[in-house]
Symmetry: C2
Subunit: 139 residues, 2 copies
DNA sequence: CTTGACCTTGACATCATGGGAAGGTGCACG
DNA sequence: CGTGCACCTTCCCATGATGTCAAGGTCAAG
């Protein structure tokens, strides 16, 4: 099948399929006489694997490792688990950062009357750097 | 003062100060005869405002709006509050996405024995697309 | 005058993705 | 056979926020 169909079937855009090929994440696709890329069911499986990995927030680098492990029948699951757990830690760290921001903002927002008057604790906090809830927003 | 000192005082790197000037987020700085940018206390306040906004995760576009409101003495605090609340919503949406990913990954990871054996539910899930905890990772 | 710290601009990298232009291909319909 | 449309190709540029590096100018102290 052509790249467009492969894109529809896998959920990875044609643009990204070409990109993944260019950066060596996937093998070079076969070509028709006219130069069109062709994909088979194995390629589709790989593309779907990549898309699911992306949906779980894995980076290209991590996906590269996961793909290698996937294709290595003798892999140790410990390595896969290690990658996943490291990724979980990264995601949770991000969540904590966002949570800090949200808490600060919610506090500020709650104290802003939000009407036509110009005085506003949100701007005051941004201007002065004083804390709105007793902690700095970034560690 | 020169850009390096302004960077140290405001917590915004010299690189970013130039960048913010280039994209029109801040006014063009004054220059010495030799072409060095010069900054005063007003500029420092602006830079610090920007850095605090970035620390709270506001985008450049949002900061542009916040700066305009900050410099408008007749602003209505409602507008500031609106921007802040919209930003809170965005942050929370991101957190929810991350949380979905984490839950899926934790479930998969818990069922992966993580030893030298090759069978691994994490890879199986990535390969097959079957759900590991009853919900899809992406809406 | 030299040295080192600082400044200047500019180009390129990251990360994952999208947009668009310019031109070739494949197929179906008339 | 011809025309048109959908599809493919490559290449360049953009995003957002930041960093790195390079080549060169400037300033102040020794």
């Amino acid at each position: 099948m052509n790249i467009g169909e492969a894109a529809r079937a896998s959920g990875v855009s044609a643009k990204m399929i070409r990109h993944y090929e260019a950066i060596g994440l996937i093998e070079e696709a076969g070509r028709t006489g006219a130069g069109y890329r062709t994909y088979g069911s194995r390629d589709l499986n790989t593309l779907s694997f990549i898309r699911r990995s992306r949906d779980l927030g894995f980076s290209i680098t991590q996906i590269r490792d996961l793909l290698a492990l996937w294709q290595d029948r003798a892999r140790a699951s410990a390595e896969v688990k290690r990658i996943a757990e490291q990724h979980i830690d990264e995601l949770q760290a991000k969540m904590r950062q966002l949570q800090e921001m949200v808490m600060t903002l919610e506090h500020l927002s709650a104290h802003c009357h939000g009407d036509a008057r110009p005085d506003c604790p949100i701007l005051e906090r941004l201007a002065s750097g004083e804390n709105g809830h007793g902690r700095d927003a970034h560690s």
